[in-house]
Symmetry: C2
Subunit: 133 residues, 2 copies
């Protein structure tokens, strides 16, 4: 008898033709949506195994260990899958309280207000200080 | 002088090559992530104008007024855009308390638990009663 495939759960995901799945990262406790990104199979496996969010950077074409430059690592509390099995929802603890590369708490800082996108979240840390220190 | 373009805010969105944008719907109050879907330009415009979430159904290739069959309309409180301007976050009030076509509160009812996807949310209403009444 062969051992049961410990990675069978990854086969349940309906990957895109590019081998990716969209991922929503939500902050544990506050419930705020921090960011949206993509994972490939390896990224999701690593996220589960390490407990740190690992995404697939489509722009850079490589694995992106969230926080690898900034230190703003995400500790993963929960990994969820939706009804169509083609979207992942992470519940995470955001180290540093900054998820966005602009230095803001989260990426959704533009709110539609009477036909205009208005920024309503402060920059908590200068990105230059985040990425070049 | 021509009137200012009241729909210029739609041009700020970085639509995919298919003319779509991914959308996260989050419940006002509870902060729970309800579902993930897509919008085209018309869907986002209608969502803003009507105050009800309108998505683009990729499987059906048409506009999808959320709740058109089920009655589970989403009243939109906020429309947000992320840092890369290619993801939309809605804050909504979910009529009927059911966002998922399976009859559950939300779509993310499968949780990864020791290598298995475990359902941890109850069906609140039989889908047959939702879609064929």
């Amino acid at each position: 008898m062969s051992a049961p495939d410990k990675l069978a759960w990854l086969d349940k995901v309906n990957w895109t033709t590019d081998g990716l799945v969209p991922v929503i990262a939500q902050e544990a406790g506050s419930g705020r949506v921090l960011m949206f990104a993509w994972m490939n199979r390896e990224a999701l496996q690593l996220t589960s195994e390490t407990g740190h969010a690992v995404y697939w950077s489509r722009s850079r074409g490589r694995l992106w260990h969230k926080g690898e430059e900034s230190g703003h690592v995400q500790h993963v509390h929960e990994i969820r899958l939706d009804c169509d099995e083609d979207v992942v929802l992470l519940t995470v603890e955001q180290v540093g309280g900054i998820a966005c590369h602009t230095g803001r708490h989260n990426c959704f800082f533009q709110k539609l207000d009477q036909g205009n996108w208005v920024i309503d979240q402060p920059v908590l840390k200068d990105p230059k200080a985040i990425y070049h220190e």
